[in-house]
C-alpha cells in the first residue's frame, strides 16, 4: 500500500467524518436534559447525605 495514497485517503475520510460529526446538533444522540441533571445532582447530594446519616447514627 502506497503511504502517500493512504495518507491522502485518510485525510479525505477525516474531512468526510468531520462534515458529518462536526455538525452534530443538540439531541442528535438523544437528550441529556433537566431530568438527567436531577438524577446526577440527586446522586451527588443524596449519597453524601446518606453517608452522613449513617455516620451520625
Amino acid at each position: 500500500m502506497n503511504t502517500a495514497e493512504f495518507k491522502a485517503a485518510m485525510e479525505a475520510e477525516m474531512r468526510r467524518r468531520l462534515a458529518i460529526m462536526g455538525e452534530t446538533r443538540d439531541g442528535d444522540f438523544g437528550r441529556f436534559d433537566g431530568r438527567d441533571w436531577a438524577v446526577v445532582i440527586g446522586l451527588l447530594l443524596a449519597l453524601p447525605l446518606l453517608f452522613t446519616w449513617w455516620f451520625a447514627r
Partner: protein, 497 residues
C-alpha cells in the same frame, strides 16, 4: 482558517482502493477517526454487560478487604457504594457525553481542555494506568491459580515457582488475542462471562449470609481501625471515591461506541459505580468474617475447593476481560504518538503489550512495587475529571469544534500557548498536591481536614472553581481556547492523524 463550504463534499472512502478503504474502516474502530452513529456497537444491554465484566475484576474484592481494616459491615457498605457511585458519576459526566456526541477517543477529548500538547501529559498517566493495572490483575489471576492448587494437598504435588509467570503469560496472550479482534469479540466474550459473574457474586452473598448471617456480620469488628471513628469512615469513603474515579480512563472508549447520550452515561454509573460498590461489599463482608483481605484465599474458605475454585476461575476470566478493555484503550491512546499513528493495529498492540510482558518476567516485584506506584498515579483522575467537567459543561456549553481537535495549527482553537493550556495543567497539579497533602494512598496516612473532606472531594472541587475563574478572566478574554469560537467545521490544511 475558514469555514468548510457546504457544497465541497469530501470524497467517500469507498471511492478509493478497496485495500485502503478496509484499512480506513479499521482506523475508525482501532484509531482516532470520529466514530459515525452507524459504526457504534454498544446498546444499553451490551454496555451493561461490558461494564459489569469490566467492573467485576479482582480489585473490587481487594477494595472491600481494604475497607474491612477500618470499618464494619454497615459503614463499609454505605461508604463503598456511595463513594464509587459519586466517583463514577463525576468522572463519567464530561467524558461520556462528549465522547458519545462527537465519536471521540478520550485523549482527543482532553485536548479541548489541556491543549494539543498538554493532552500528552494526561496520556502518560493514562497509558501507565492501563498497562500497569492490566499486568497487576493478570498476576493476581496467576496467584489465584497457585492458591487453588495450594488448597488441594491431596493432589500430591506442589506447583513450581514459574507457574505464576506461565499463567500471567497465558493471560497476556489471551488478552492480546481478544483485543486484536476488536470491540465485537469483546462484546461476545462479555455476553458469555457476565451471566457467570452475576451468578458467582450472587452465590458469594448467599453463602456468606446463609452460613454466617447478618448478625454475625454486624458483630464483626474491623481488622485494624484507628481510634478516630470519623477518620475510619473517611478512609473507607475515600477508597470508594478513589475506585470510582479510577474508571476515568475507560469511560470514553465505551461512550464513543454507544448510541445515545443517556446510554453512554447511566450504564457506566450502574455497573462501574453501583455494581462495583456492591461487589466490593462481598469482599468487605468476607474480609470481616474471615479476617483475610486476599480474595484468592477467602473465596476458598467461603466456597470450598470446588465452588471457590470455580468462582476464582470465573474471576480469572473476568480479569482477562478487564485487561483486554484496558489494553484496547491503551492502544487507542498510543495513536496520539506520531510514531504509532499509521502502524497497523496488530503491530501497535504488540508494542503496547511489551511493557505488560515485564509482569511475566518479574511478576512478584512488579506486583508489590507497582501497586504503590499506580496508587499515586490514579490520584490524578479526580482533578482531571473535575477540570473536564467545568470546561465541557460550564465554559463550552457542551459544544466542541470537532475539526479543531485534529489540527496542530498554532491558530487552532485548542492550541492555547505552545500547545499547552498551562492554566488547566496548573490547576491539575494543584489538585494532585491537595490530594497527596491530605492522604497518602500507599500508607493510608491522613492529614489536615481529611476526616471531614476526604482527599478526592477537595482535589476535585478546588481545581474546578479555580479553573472556572481563571479561564473566564484569562482565557476567554484573551480569545484563547476557542471558548467563543464558531462551531462549524473549519478547513484544515494538515491533520494531526
Amino acid at each position: 482558517m475558514s469555514a468548510l463550504p457546504r457544497d465541497e463534499s469530501p470524497p467517500d472512502a469507498s471511492e478509493v482502493d478497496p485495500d485502503i478503504a478496509v484499512r480506513i474502516q479499521e482506523e475508525a474502530i482501532f484509531g482516532r477517526l470520529p466514530l459515525l452513529p452507524q459504526e457504534r456497537e454498544y446498546t444499553m444491554r451490551s454496555l451493561l454487560s461490558t461494564g459489569f465484566a469490566y467492573a467485576v475484576a479482582t480489585w473490587c474484592f481487594l477494595i472491600g478487604g481494604y475497607s474491612a481494616q477500618y470499618v464494619g459491615a454497615v459503614q463499609g457498605m454505605v461508604t463503598l457504594i456511595a463513594g464509587s457511585v459519586i466517583g463514577v458519576t463525576l468522572s463519567a459526566l464530561a467524558a461520556a457525553l462528549a465522547c458519545n456526541r462527537y465519536g471521540l477517543e478520550q485523549i482527543d477529548f482532553t485536548k479541548s481542555c489541556f491543549g494539543q500538547r498538554g493532552a500528552r501529559v494526561i496520556l502518560i498517566f493514562y497509558f501507565i494506568n492501563q498497562v500497569g493495572w492490566s499486568g497487576i490483575i493478570l498476576v493476581m489471576s496467576a496467584h489465584a491459580v497457585t492458591h487453588v492448587f495450594g488448597a488441594a494437598p491431596w493432589l500430591g504435588f506442589s506447583l513450581p515457582w514459574w507457574v505464576v509467570n506461565l499463567v500471567t503469560l497465558i493471560g497476556v496472550a489471551a488478552s492480546y488475542a481478544i483485543v486484536v479482534r476488536g470491540v465485537h469479540i469483546l462484546n461476545v466474550w462479555n455476553a458469555i462471562v457476565t451471566p457467570g459473574l452475576v451468578a458467582v457474586c450472587g452465590m458469594l452473598f448467599y453463602v456468606i449470609f446463609a452460613h454466617h448471617g447478618w448478625h454475625e456480620l454486624l458483630a464483626a469488628t474491623p481488622m485494624q481501625p484507628s481510634d478516630n471513628h470519623a477518620l475510619n469512615y473517611a478512609i473507607s469513603f475515600e477508597f470508594g471515591l478513589g475506585a470510582g474515579f479510577s474508571w476515568w480512563p475507560g469511560i470514553g472508549f465505551l461512550a464513543r461506541n454507544t448510541d445515545t447520550q443517556r446510554n453512554s452515561f447511566y450504564p457506566q454509573v450502574l455497573t462501574m459505580g453501583l455494581g462495583m460498590g456492591v461487589i466490593c461489599c462481598s469482599g468487605l463482608f468476607a474480609a470481616l468474617i474471615f479476617k483475610e483481605g486476599d480474595p484468592s484465599v477467602w473465596m476458598l474458605k467461603v466456597g470450598g475447593l470446588f465452588f471457590g475454585g470455580a468462582a476464582l476461575l470465573l474471576i480469572l476470566i473476568a480479569n482477562i476481560s478487564a485487561s483486554s478493555i484496558m489494553m484496547y484503550t491503551a492502544g487507542l491512546g498510543m495513536r496520539h504518538v506520531p510514531t504509532f499513528r499509521n502502524m497497523p493495529w496488530t503491530m501497535l498492540l504488540a508494542v503496547a503489550f511489551i511493557p505488560v510482558m515485564a509482569y511475566v518476567l518479574w511478576p512478584e516485584i512488579l506486583y508489590q512495587k507497582g501497586q504503590s506506584f499506580l496508587a499515586y498515579n490514579a490520584t490524578m483522575y479526580a482533578p482531571i475529571s473535575g477540570l473536564l467537567l467545568v470546561d465541557y459543561f460550564w465554559l463550552r456549553g457542551q459544544r466542541l469544534n470537532l475539526s479543531q481537535i485534529f489540527t496542530d495549527d498554532v491558530q487552532g482553537h485548542y492550541w492555547f500557548k505552545a500547545g499547552f493550556n498551562f492554566i488547566a495543567l496548573g490547576c491539575l497539579a494543584l489538585g494532585y498536591a491537595i490530594y497527596l497533602y491530605l492522604f497518602d494512598p500507599v500508607s493510608n496516612t491522613a492529614r489536615g481536614a481529611f476526616q471531614w473532606t476526604t482527599a478526592s472531594v477537595p482535589a476535585t472541587l478546588v481545581p474546578m472553581v479555580l479553573y472556572y475563574v481563571l479561564a473566564k478572566v484569562l482565557l476567554v478574554r484573551a480569545g484563547q481556547g476557542g471558548y467563543e469560537g464558531m462551531q462549524d467545521p473549519l478547513a484544515i490544511e494538515a491533520f494531526n492523524l
